[in-house]
């Protein structure tokens, strides 16, 4: 049973122990994974910090994370679709729809409780996604066109609602919880508790899994790899906590981790769990890898396609709540049609494949942070807003090229 050697560590025949390169390779895993992207992120951070001394200030880092949250949620939404080889180009406007509904119904005029307005917003977004899914599956149309058309439809309806409801064409955020999504912070103590809890949970889960594998006499993950991963997580958490707990207010003290961060982590953990530990997630990957094989294995492929569109809409809806919270309201002039490209960019820059079957929920987190770093950094070093589009476009193009090359080299192996 234990005769199969460890997959990613090739032994050095001379010494019989894994060589240094093999160990480094072992840290990264069989494919390059997220590491090159992290290296790019570090390089970007260093560049902007050298060019602008305020880039890594506590104030700006917090700001940057809030900015990233929107891209992250939109990117996660897109990952559900990209995994199946589909795409949803309406997600930017779906997010706007969610934010507007939440803002309108928590407004003094309607004064719904926040949770009711949030639920309504998310339900509408899920339904919109589901509608695209049904059209794609039943009429066998490419999702690219369906959702492009859908994006115009949602945009039109949204602008109509905004004009109808408020003469001025806007829905301001007037509710505390909605506003706190991006404005509120944990206390410094709870910031530390949160970081400690995440590290403890990650350690516990990892060790439990290793124990189960050892009991079944299966190949174990090399210890250095576990240690490296957990150390990196801990270091990242501690640094973030220190930065977030630094007072960044000028008159009154503002400190602590923004609420948005634990909320992102929560959604990330749930989604990652579903994708990697449940049948549902396994079938998502299977359909993206070989839909015909999944169908023959008894997976209801079309139903899963619709689920993916619904989850995409739902997740974009969450992003929309943060979006409107950050903007302080949604109006017909908040027409930001580039947002959807940021959604695709966040997912693809992180390493999600456009061809389906490859991607993780951690990818849009890193991708979203990279986007936020670029956009935030370019503003700080006073590059014009137009250049921001060019740079983002170039980065997206680069990511897609890498994706395509990776796919081609994989096909060459066969």
């Amino acid at each position: 049973m234990s005769t199969l050697p460890e997959p990613s560590v090739s032994s050095n025949p001379a010494t019989g122990s894994p060589s240094l390169m093999a160990r480094l390779g072992g840290l990264i895993g069989p494919d390059l994974g997220i590491v090159p992207v992290l290296i790019a992120l570090v390089a970007l951070v260093i560049y902007f910090e050298v060019r602008s001394s305020v880039f890594l200030s506590a104030d700006n880092v917090t700001n940057l994370f809030i900015q990233a949250v929107i891209y992250i949620f939109l990117g996660m939404a897109e990952v559900w679709l990209l995994l199946l080889g589909e795409i949803d180009l309406s997600l930017g406007w779906v997010a706007g729809m969610s934010g507007s509904i939440a803002a309108i119904y928590t407004n003094v005029q309607y004064a719904w409780p926040w949770w009711a307005a949030f639920l309504a917003a998310l339900a509408v977004c899920t339904a919109i996604g589901g509608l695209w899914g049904v059209i794609v599956v039943r009429l066998k149309l490419p999702s690219f066109i369906v959702t492009l058309a859908g994006s115009f439809i949602v945009e039109g309806i949204l602008l109509y609602i905004l004009d109808k409801v408020f003469e001025g064409g806007g829905a301001p955020v007037q509710e505390k919880v909605l506003s706190n999504l991006t404005q509120g912070n944990l206390t410094p103590t709870f910031t530390w508790i949160f970081v400690a809890a995440v590290v403890a949970a990650a350690t516990g889960v990892t060790l439990a899994r290793e124990r189960a594998r050892r009991r079944a006499d299966l190949a174990r993950t090399p210890t250095y790899r576990i240690v490296a991963k957990l150390t990196a997580l801990t270091a990242f958490g501690v640094i973030l906590a220190i930065v977030f707990n630094t007072n960044r207010g000028t008159f009154i003290p503002i400190e602590g981790m923004p609420f948005a961060v634990p909320l992102v982590v929560g959604v990330l953990v749930i989604y990652s769990f579903v994708l990697s530990r449940t049948k549902f997630g396994r079938y998502m990957y299977a359909i993206g890898g070989n839909a015909e094989a999944a169908r023959r294995a008894g997976v209801p492929v079309n139903r899963y396609r619709i689920y993916a569109f619904m989850l995409g809409g739902f997740t974009a809806g969450i992003g929309g709540l943060f979006y409107v919270s950050r903007l302080g309201g949604y109006s017909s002039s908040s027409t930001d049609s580039t947002v959807v490209l940021y959604a695709v960019a966040a997912a693809v820059i992180g390493g999600t494949s456009l061809y389906g079957g490859r991607g993780k929920m951690t990818y849009p987190v890193v991708g979203g942070i990279i986007l936020a770093v670029i956009i935030n950094g370019l503003v700080l070093i006073q590059v014009s807003a137009t250049m921001e589009f060019v740079v983002t476009g170039v980065v997206l193009l680069g990511a897609v090229t890498v994706d395509s090359l990776a796919r081609r080299s994989q096909n060459l192996l066969k």
Partner: protein
């Protein structure tokens, strides 16, 4: 309505069949199986016996009806007429589900594997083991390793490798192992060695022999007569929708097999 002029089944093939039949009923028996697609007769009155623990090679030229026949066995096509008997019982519904419930597994040429998933995930696709809703990776991995070891598949490094990184022969092995793990009694393989090199072909042929030695019936479609003579216990030759000849491999040689494939008859057979 036998259109065959030479039929080794009538001579010494019959003794082999009854020899098997004395101890237990034939695993699969086709009697008078026909399949029409509109006016086209793809299968004409095919009688075929597939015994357990033997490798039966189904040979014939392109368009001879081999693929139609295996699809009829796998329940994908309903029969226009004729009967299928499984272990002495008549099969009634002719659906893919009935076939797979009985233990008929088909490994098509495209193998139906997900390259982006690892070996364990592919082996269990659609049949994942769960513990309170969560995938039970440990027990799936253990079982996968056992199955591969049983089939003497020793070339894969780790069962956590992505299937996309495997060679053609290994992929074939995974597709077969997937069927075996599901307790297949009859494994149908469509051109298993068509795209493989010498070493990998040898591995797949070994795998086929291993299956037979475990009492599993194997029905192999192949164009490669060298492979057929290397691995098969029995041969069934199709020609223009008709099963023109079938019987133990000893009743044939390379030239008689070629005659049967190309003309449907052979003066040299048995």
């Amino acid at each position: 309505m036998s259109e065959s002029e030479t039929n080794p089944r009538e001579s010494d093939g019959a003794t082999v069949d009854s020899d098997v039949g004395d101890r237990e009923p034939m695993l699969l028996r086709l009697r008078g199986v026909s399949k029409n697609f509109g006016a086209v007769q793809a299968l004409r009155h095919v009688d075929l016996d597939v015994p357990a623990g033997k490798v039966t090679a189904l040979i014939g030229d392109n368009g001879a009806g081999k693929s139609t026949l295996i699809k009829a066995i796998a329940g994908i096509w309903e029969l226009s007429s004729g009967e299928k008997w499984w272990l002495g019982n008549k099969m009634v519904s002719h659906t893919p589900k009935e076939a797979s419930d009985l233990g008929i597994a088909t490994v098509y040429q495209d193998l139906a594997l997900c390259d982006n998933l690892d070996i364990v995930s592919n082996m269990y696709l659609g049949f994942e083991k769960t513990k309170s809703g969560v995938l039970d990776e440990v027990s799936m991995e253990v079982r996968t390793k056992e199955t591969l070891r049983d089939l003497s598949v020793s070339t894969v490094q780790s069962v956590r490798q992505l299937v996309g990184s495997l060679s053609g022969g290994q992929r074939q092995a995974i597709a077969v192992a997937r069927a075996v793990m599901r307790d297949a009694k009859l494994v149908i393989m469509d051109e298993p060695t068509a795209a493989l090199g010498v070493t990998q072909t040898a591995q797949v042929l070994d795998l086929i022999r291993t299956l037979a030695s475990k009492g599993i019936a194997v029905l192999v479609i192949s164009h490669n007569l060298n492979d057929v003579f290397a691995v098969a216990d029995r041969i069934a030759v199709m020609y223009l929708g008709t099963l023109v000849s079938s019987g133990p491999i000893e009743s044939y040689d390379m030239s008689s097999a070629v005659d049967l494939i190309t003309t449907g008859t052979s003066t040299r057979a048995a």
